[in-house]
């Protein structure tokens, strides 16, 4: 699991299908050099995690919560 700003990305499970990139309502995710990367602005809506068919992306729990 590779940590990004707000999400954890699983390099081995991920098939680079781009679903997470396309469902993100604020378009902070992208595929660069074959890796899912994240820029600032995540609103923690969980859409990427909910739609990923490969269980390859998880939104990090907010520090101190859960």
């Amino acid at each position: 699991m590779k940590p990004r700003l707000h999400v954890l990305w699983n390099e081995t499970y991920c098939k680079r299908c781009l679903l997470c990139v396309e469902v993100c309502p604020v378009q902070v995710l992208s595929l660069e050099r074959n890796e899912i990367t994240e820029k600032e602005g995540c609103i923690r809506c969980y859409q990427c995690e909910r739609y990923c068919p490969d269980i390859a992306i998880e939104v990090m729990d907010e520090k101190g919560k859960e």
Binding site: C17, E22, R50, P53
Partner: protein, 344 residues
């Protein structure tokens, strides 16, 4: 975010076999979530799959799982449920497996209404074998076996599976996620045969030929084609997503007509002695009388006595009280005939 559903998946076999963006992964994941939410586990739940890309689903479930011959998924599932009614039986399979080669089993398993839940990954194509048209392929779709467009209308599963109560038929898509989750949950808790028709994407062997570049583009197409209908429904229209269900129509047996024969007072009946009775044995065109418990009955209309002096062991013109009490039939047989006198 509760991620405990992962216990139900064989993560050591991940990444799974399906193409990037294939909807089957979403079906597997969301079914696992719903099963976990209900508190079901490997102790009480079995997953059964047929053949096809979709048929690989049960193999990724951390449950007892059966991978059956092509088309026989429902027969296997129904057998398991019959032998072990305490188990929750879920079927994870494809539209080709369930409705084409397995179509006959679908008809008859749904008719018998066993308490099993079917999740049909309906990608409107045969995925595993290379993208041939199947019975769920929409008319006009170009596939490798229908390069000029599929000429036939697809099976209307929504009609087929709702033609006779009880039934549970839900249609949803992998894109309409909240609706999808609701349908899975409702189907799992439904008592009886429930079928969830999940419109899903085969991006590699169907989507690309249709001009879609990513799974998400196919999702947008599902969004254009289908809309959600709320509330309780008997049936779903062609492009409607929702749940159609009905419980068994109660069969009210028609009230039996009880013919009340007015009780004839003994004293008003004509008196017969045994000798007099003896004469009415049906010979020479005479009527057939017998006595039973002090009354004389006219059995002339009985088809069993016609033209005969005796019917098996019962002899006409006699007091048959003892005979009838030991006969295999009841006395009701006698009471059907008119009482004509009393024995003195």
């Amino acid at each position: 975010m509760d991620r405990s559903y992962k216990d139900l998946l064989k993560l050591r076999r991940f990444p799974h076999t399906w193409c990037p963006g294939c909807g089957i992964g979403a079906v597997l994941k969301n079914v696992a979530m719903a099963v976990k939410e209900l508190g079901w586990s490997d102790k009480n739940t079995v997953a059964v799959s047929g053949i096809g890309c979709s048929g690989r689903m049960s193999g990724y479930m951390n449950l007892d799982a059966v991978h059956t011959p092509h088309g026989r998924v429902l027969t296997s599932a129904e057998t398991i449920k019959t032998i072990r009614p305490d188990l929750n039986v879920i079927v994870l399979s494809g539209d080709g497996d369930l409705t084409s080669i397995g179509g006959n089993h679908l008809l008859h398993t749904s008719r018998r209404n066993p308490d099993i839940t079917v999740f049909c990954n309906d990608n409107e194509i045969y995925g595993l074998t290379g993208g041939q048209a199947g019975p769920t392929t929409p008319r006009g779709t170009k596939t490798i076996t229908s390069p000029r467009g599929e000429p036939y209308s697809p099976l209307r599963l929504g009609h087929l599976l709702t033609q006779q109560a009880p039934y549970f038929y839900a249609r949803t898509t992998v894109y309409h996620l909240n609706h999808f989750k609701k349908c899975i949950h409702e189907a799992l808790v439904w008592k009886g045969f429930s079928f969830v028709d999940i419109v899903s994407d085969c991006i590699e062997l169907n989507g690309r030929r249709l001009g879609f570049k990513t799974a998400h583009q196919m999702f947008k197409w599902f969004d254009e084609r289908f809309h959600i209908v709320e509330g309780e429904r008997d049936h779903l229209g062609e492009n409607e997503l929702g749940i159609a269900r009905a419980v068994e129509e109660e069969v009210v047996p028609p009230a039996e007509k009880v013919e009340e024969k007015p009780e004839i007072p003994m004293a008003s009946l004509k008196p017969f002695t045994l000798e007099e009775l003896h004469r009415f044995d049906g010979t020479g065109g005479k009527p057939i009388y017998i006595a039973y418990k002090g009354k004389v009955y006219d059995l002339s209309s009985s088809p069993l006595f016609q033209g005969e002096k005796r019917m098996r062991c019962h002899i006409a013109g006699k007091d048959l009280t003892k005979d009838i009490d030991v006969a295999p039939h009841g006395e009701d047989l006698v009471f059907k005939f008119p009482a004509v006198g009393r024995l003195v």
